[in-house]
């Protein structure tokens, strides 16, 4: 029997993502990849995968998945959500975020609404058995490239797993890292900051913006005071777009370009978000506030080095949980009691 996870409920926007598909932008292929690569790395680390193995990116609302494998080791990192493990017998346990757990055939993982971040990553030990496209498993729904059939998950999808069963070993736990967004997202001005008036630049740096509902994996649209273009206008002869480029079309409202960004564009770009602050953007949900602070290239580079150090030391912060999480339902329930979470069914009994 092949090993798989069956999608019972897909969640709002659940896609397979890894660290992206660089190298083909000259052919018009967006890079894609996880919005919050820190959390993707954490989830992979917890199940013992390499950092760039494809995992499910879960946005806002989690999926319900049933296990069609002898066993599978799963870890979820990023936004916190109640993660119920339902057994055919009706028993119920919980899997904590930032902790691996082993599920067996017939069990169902049900994840609720995310808090603390707009995204979370569900990694499975060994990864999904889905062919990479142009070197990546990342899903680009706009062009139906990569991932599971080039689209977000739907009910009834069967996601094949590379491993038929989980490896016998202790589970792992990682202290959740701080997902609180920075008060000020750091930006480097340019390349077309000369297409804005001094007042327009000042507006960007002094006002707080709100993440619009029209935000998606391609771009984060912001609502707030419009930025005034100079006489050079908002149209430019199209040029290349970087991750975090802030383009400002005619209506003056900034759009921060994210993972699924187009490779080139014809609107003036006032600034670029520093690479170290990109994961924080991925975590912002519609309605969140965002303000900006201009920094120099050297500050941006130092921030990138600091983030890389955090990533490099993540593995050293992983601890083993001596007893496995699965099967021992009594212990699971006890854990839940300790953390104050009790299933209604059990407390009634």
């Amino acid at each position: 029997m092949t090993a798989a996870l069956r999608v019972v409920v897909p969640g709002l926007m659940t896609t397979l993502q890894d660290l992206g598909r660089p190298g083909y932008q000259r052919l018009g292929v967006p890079v894609s990849g996880a919005l919050d690569q820190m959390s993707l790395r954490a989830a992979n680390l917890l199940v013992g995968n390499g950092a760039g193995v494809g995992a499910l990116e879960i946005a806002y609302q989690g999926p319900t998945l049933s296990v069609e494998a002898d066993s599978v080791r799963i870890a979820i990192a990023g936004g916190h959500a109640p993660i119920d493990i339902l057994q055919p017998s009706g028993n119920r346990g919980r899997l904590a975020p930032f902790q691996s757990g082993r599920l067996v055939r017939g069990e169902v993982l049900r994840m609720g609404v995310l808090g603390g971040s707009a995204v979370a990553y569900l990694a499975v030990e060994g990864g999904f058995d889905i062919d990479p496209v142009l070197g990546s498993q990342s899903t680009l729904t706009r062009a139906a490239i990569g991932g599971f059939k080039g689209r977000a998950l739907q009910a009834g999808d069967v996601l094949p797993l590379k491993q038929a069963a989980a490896i016998e070993r202790d589970e792992r736990i990682l202290a959740p890292f701080d997902l609180t967004p920075r008060k000020h997202v750091r930006i480097v001005l340019g390349p077309q900051d000369d297409h804005f008036t001094p007042a327009g630049l000042k507006t960007l740096l002094t006002h707080t913006y709100t993440v619009s509902r029209a935000t998606d994996r391609m771009g984060m649209r912001l609502e707030g005071p419009p930025l005034e273009h100079s006489s050079k206008g908002y149209d430019i002869v199209s040029d290349g777009i970087a991750l975090g480029s802030i383009q400002v079309p005619g209506n003056g409202l900034p759009i921060i370009l994210l993972a699924d960004r187009q490779t080139t564009g014809g609107y003036a770009k006032i600034a670029t978000v520093v690479s170290a602050d990109i994961p924080t953007l991925g975590r912002l949900a519609p309605g969140a506030s965002i303000a900006f602070e201009a920094v120099g290239i050297e500050v941006a580079e130092a921030a990138a080095r600091r983030l890389a150090r955090d990533v490099a030391t993540m593995a050293s912060r992983v601890a083993s949980v001596r007893r496995p999480l699965d099967i021992d339902w009594k212990r699971l329930m006890a854990e839940n009691l300790v953390s104050g979470v009790v299933s209604a069914r059990e407390s009634e009994g």
């Binding site: 660089p22 000259r26 142009l134 990138a304």
Partner: protein
């Protein structure tokens, strides 16, 4: 980092951009992830951990002296396209806007050798420049939500070919049966920046015959040869 050569759509600037892209590709400094040529600049994506901005600037500055337009050569393509009114949805409208007859629009569009300035917007989508001034039309006021795949469309004296169904605001003149994007091929895009394209008008019947072949993966277009010189 963006290496800017100018702020116009101009074949000479484009050739310099492509020459630099080629030079950078030939001796790619560690830390450079990829370079994306556009109309007037080269976008260099780099890893700030492997290379500082200042170092990248120095590495690129060293490549600039002796950058020659002549050092660049692309491929020459003849792409079949059907300008029938059932496929060229805006042909009549473009004729009205330009004051030309539909036949004149087809003739001027298909006979002009157009240069692929850059690929962008969608995987495999080429931006072709070099059309005569009549085609300096703004984009449509109401962009279409769905432009059929293979549509050849014009605006701002340029053409694009939509490799797949997509939203789009350009004026559709024709449709090509030739697939511009093949995921399993290497490279997956038929065209590349620097190539030259002319269109070969097809009858509706020929178009449909070629479309059937394309659907069976039996339509394979090969370039006619290398690009020949440069238009002034």
């Amino acid at each position: 980092m963006i290496v800017e050569f100018g702020d116009r759509v101009d074949w000479h600037l484009s050739a310099l951009v492509l020459a630099l892209a080629r030079k950078l590709e030939a001796g790619k400094p560690a830390g450079v992830i990829e370079a994306v040529p556009t109309f007037r600049s080269l976008m260099v994506h780099y890893d700030p951990l492997a290379m500082s901005h200042a170092d990248l600037q120095r590495a690129i500055a060293a490549l600039l002296p002796g950058l020659e337009v002549a050092s660049f050569a692309g491929r020459r393509w003849r792409i079949p396209a059907c300008y029938d009114a059932s496929l060229g949805l805006d042909l009549a409208d473009v004729a009205r806007r330009t004051g030309l007859s539909s036949a004149q629009v087809v003739e001027r569009h298909s006979q002009t050798s157009q240069l692929v300035y850059m690929m962008g917007f969608l995987p495999g989508l080429p931006y072709l420049g070099g059309l005569p001034g009549e085609f300096a039309l703004p984009r449509r006021e109401n962009p279409r939500v769905k432009v059929p795949f293979g549509s050849v469309a014009v605006a701002m004296s340029m053409s694009v070919i939509y490799p797949q169904e997509s939203p789009g605001g350009w004026h559709i003149l024709a449709r090509t049966p030739v697939p511009l994007w093949h995921m399993r091929k290497s490279p997956p895009a038929l065209l590349a920046a620097g190539d030259q394209v002319t269109f070969e008008p097809l009858s509706l019947r020929e178009y449909e015959r070629m479309l059937t072949k394309a659907a069976a993966s039996e339509l394979c277009l090969t370039p006619e040869g290398p690009t020949q010189g440069h238009r002034a």
